[in-house]
Symmetry: C2
Subunit: 206 residues, 2 copies
C-alpha cells in the first residue's frame, strides 16, 4: 500500500496494530476520523490514553475497577464464600449479565498456554490461592473456556488447592437453551448426556 502522506501512513500503521484490523480496515477507520470533526478524534485518543494510564485492577479479584476494590467485591450482599474463576473481565460481564450468580469472581488474566509462552506465574493464581487460604472461600467455580489450555489451568489450580478446605466445580457444558440437538457438535452433546441433571432440577431452573 503506497501512501501519499507519512502522517496518514503512520496513523494507518498504528491502527492496523489492533487485533483483527487489517491495513484496509485501518485506512477506512482513519479516513472516517478525517471526515468527522476533530473533537471526535481527540475524544477517542483521550479516552484510550486515560484508560491505559489510569487503569486500576481490583486488588481482590483483578477485575478492572475505578476504585481500589471493585463494586462486586465491595458489595456486602454478595456471597463471598463462592468464587468464580474466569479468564478475563469479559467473562465477568457475561456472567453478571445473566443475574444468576451472587458470589465473587477471580480474574486470572488468561490461561496457561505453553504454546503462547503463558505460564502459571503470568496469571493471577498466587493471589487466588491466597484468597482461599485467608478468606472464607467454600467453593471455587471454574468457568474457563473448555479447551486444553482451560483444562490445564483448572487442573493446575486444583492441585495448588490440595489440603485446603474448599470444594471445586466447573460450569455445566451442554446444548444451548433453544438449540436443536441435530446441529450440536458431538462432544457437547456427549457431555450433556453424561452430565444430565435430575428432571426436577431442570424444572426449577426454568
Amino acid at each position: 500500500m503506497e501512501f501519499s502522506s507519512k502522517l496518514l501512513e503512520n496513523a494507518v500503521y498504528e491502527m492496523s496494530q489492533l487485533p483483527g484490523i487489517g491495513k484496509r480496515t485501518a485506512l477506512r477507520l482513519v479516513l472516517h476520523l478525517l471526515k468527522q470533526p476533530e473533537e471526535r478524534t481527540n475524544l477517542l485518543s483521550e479516552a484510550i490514553t486515560k484508560l491505559r494510564s489510569e487503569v486500576n485492577f481490583c486488588k481482590s479479584c483483578h477485575n478492572i475497577s475505578d476504585t481500589e476494590v471493585c463494586e462486586i467485591c465491595a458489595n456486602p450482599k454478595r456471597d463471598e464464600t463462592i468464587v468464580c474463576v474466569v479468564e478475563d473481565i469479559r467473562d465477568v460481564m457475561a456472567i453478571e449479565n445473566t443475574s444468576q450468580f451472587n458470589g465473587l469472581y477471580h480474574v486470572l488474566g488468561g490461561k496457561i498456554s505453553p504454546m503462547e509462552g503463558v505460564g502459571p506465574q503470568d496469571l493471577n493464581i498466587v493471589s487466588l490461592i491466597q484468597r482461599v487460604k485467608e478468606k472464607e472461600v467454600k467453593e471455587l467455580i471454574f468457568a474457563l473456556s473448555s479447551t486444553m489450555e482451560g483444562d490445564t489451568t483448572n487442573f493446575y489450580i486444583y492441585r495448588q488447592l490440595e489440603g485446603l478446605n474448599v470444594t471445586t466445580s466447573t460450569i455445566a457444558r451442554g446444548i444451548s437453551v433453544g438449540d436443536e440437538l441435530e446441529y450440536a457438535d458431538e462432544v457437547t452433546l456427549g457431555r450433556s448426556i453424561l452430565n444430565r441433571v435430575p428432571f426436577e432440577n431442570s424444572i426449577k431452573a426454568s
Copy 2:
C-alpha cells in the same frame, strides 16, 4: 453491557463510534491495548491526533499530502493533460497501484447523494472546473463507482464542462480478468458485451 469501570466504558464507547466497530469488538480492542505496553496506546493516540490536526490536502487535486502540492501533482514526469476524477484517496491508491496511469487526479471527496444530503457544493467540483479552465487539461476520466450517485455526479460535472475544450471518458466496466462468465452479474456482462473492444486492443493490453 454493564461496565465495572467508567474509564473502560468511556474508552469502549469512543472506540465503538468508529464505523463497523460494535461494542463487543470495541471492548476486545480496548482490552488488547490494556495488555500491551502503554507506549502502544500512546503511539496510536498520537498518530491519529497528529494526522487529524495536521492533515493537509493537495491544493490542486485534494489528495492527502504532507506538502502543499502532492507528490503526484508535483511530478514533472506525469501527464498533466489527463485528469482522473475519483471519489476518495483510496481510489487514487488503487489506481496508482496498477501502474497503468500516468496522468493526474482530482479527488471529489464523495459523490452527489440527495439521500445522504451531499450536494455538488459539498464536493471539490468548482476547483475541478477551474483546473480544466486554467490548466491544459485535454481529457477527464470519470472513475467514480458505477452507482446512481456516481452516474449523477459524472453527469453533473459533464454539464459544467459545456463549452470547454476537454474530452471526457469513463473507465471500462466489464468482467474481471480471470473471472468466469457464468458467475458475472447480468449488468456487468451486458455492459462488457456492449463495450467490447477490438481484438487487437486486447492483445496489446495483455
